[in-house]
């Protein structure tokens, strides 16, 4: 089942940011969103994840199929790596966390408290959460922030594995992951708004 977005208009803080957006994401494909800061990438991803309603338009094929990863990883500092991951696995009805630990080379860190990890290690843990959700569509907002080049390679491999297993990925990123992916530039869909006051990304930084 494809993710289908038709005639979508979005607002952020009450100000329209994107309008007339259409795209289709087939299983096994990845779509990379590009656009300058403040162009509405995060708003689009949050809307598709169901965290805010669109102004207009339809999103089909997203219900209960999205695994969302944003700027905040949802990690608890006082839980260990394995405990954090096992919690999310149980919430999504899974139990096996070792493939996720393997994919992001987290096995040596599994008993460390998440609060003692470096920024890049936390990010790896946050991304490994996607693998324990068992959801087919990954919605990723700047997934490679604070990752080093090795970790970016791990991440690209994980996405490739997910795509070859019939999953799909929608991500906002500025670096080239070497994926065979479609690119959607959202800048042309910017809403014609006279005033963009209050539409900053302040709350997301």
């Amino acid at each position: 089942m494809a993710l289908l977005v038709s005639d979508l208009s979005l607002a952020r803080g009450g100000v329209p940011v994107l309008t007339g957006l259409n795209f289709r994401l087939e299983p096994g494909r990845a779509l990379i969103l590009r656009g300058p800061n403040g162009s509405g990438k995060t708003t689009l991803l949050r809307t598709i994840a169901g965290l805010q309603p669109p102004l207009e338009g339809q999103i089909s094929g997203a219900e209960d199929r999205i695994a969302y990863a944003a700027h905040a990883d949802g990690l608890k500092a006082m839980l260990s790596v394995a405990e954090n991951l096992a919690f999310w696995a149980q919430v999504f009805g899974n139990s096996d966390i070792s493939p996720a630990l393997d994919a992001y080379a987290l096995h040596p860190l599994r008993n460390r408290l998440a609060g003692t990890l470096s920024a890049g290690q936390k990010r790896r843990l946050g991304l490994s959460r996607l693998m324990v959700t068992g959801r087919p569509i990954w919605v990723l907002d700047e997934p490679t922030v604070s990752l080093d080049s090795d970790a970016v390679r791990l991440f690209a491999d994980a996405v490739r594995g997910h795509l070859s297993a019939g999953g799909s990925a929608l991500m906002a990123t500025h670096i080239d992951l070497g994926l065979d992916a479609d690119v959607l530039d959202i800048a042309p869909f910017r809403a014609a708004s006279t005033s963009r006051v209050g539409a900053s990304d302040e709350a997301f930084l």
Binding site: I66, G74, M78, L79, V91
Partner: protein, 218 residues
């Protein structure tokens, strides 16, 4: 859902989790009351039930601002919203975890602290019964307040102002049940009213909490 409860309990018990905060506050308040009121045993005995109830209520209030705010700050709340758990269940579990780590220890500590306040012998049973019945309502109503203020930086003051009026019926009937028990009167009516308030809030408040949370996160 069990996973969420276990995680919340585990977090509360680990360093910095805030377990014991309410209990310590309760202990301090009740220990200090005899010093401020003076060594008049009869007076202390007659105000003991009310003081213990007020102390327990304020102790519950103390840990409310962390109930959802921490999960909001680190992004957990957004991720829980996309998870297959209904949000009503999430807030109910959060309230249950809050009660287990804050309300239940207060219920268990109250009879011990009752000794310090010269609570009459017949009052201990009804004090424990009224607190055990009333504190779940405090947690559930508090979760609603926490949901209302979740996006607000340092919303603790606003949270207290919003929640305190909602606590008044629970306090009136809870303290009245404990007072009647201590005075040797029949506490049945206030106990039934208290039970009614508690069960109604447990049944209805999660829907309100989930609704305001959905609005607040948008």
């Amino acid at each position: 859902m069990i996973a969420l409860l276990i995680r919340d309990l585990r977090l509360a018990l680990r360093a910095g989790g805030g377990f014991g905060l309410g209990l310590a506050f309760f202990l301090i308040v009740t220990v200090l009351v005899p010093f401020s009121v003076g060594p008049q045993q009869a007076l202390l005995g007659s105000i003991a039930a009310g003081v213990l109830w007020l102390g327990a209520l304020l102790a519950c209030l103390l840990s409310l601002d962390r109930l959802l705010a921490l999960d909001y700050e680190d992004g957990t709340l957004d991720l829980l919203l996309t998870a297959p758990l209904p949000l009503e269940a999430v807030v109910s579990i959060k309230a249950l975890a809050h009660w287990l780590t804050t309300g239940l220890p207060l219920v268990l500590a109250a009879p011990v602290l009752g000794v310090l306040l010269n609570l009459p012998g017949g009052g201990f049973f009804w004090l424990v019964v009224s607190l055990a019945l009333g504190t779940p309502a405090l947690s559930v109503i508090g979760t609603f307040g926490a949901a209302l203020t979740v996006g607000i930086k340092r919303g603790g003051l606003l949270l207290s102002l919003l929640v305190l009026p909602l606590y008044v019926p629970t306090l009136i009937f809870g303290a009245e049940a404990a007072r009647r028990g201590a005075a040797g009167l029949d506490p049945q009516t206030p106990v039934l009213m208290l039970a009614g308030i508690t069960f109604a809030t447990i049944a209805l408040m999660p829907f309100a909490s989930a609704a305001v949370l959905r609005m607040g996160l948008r």
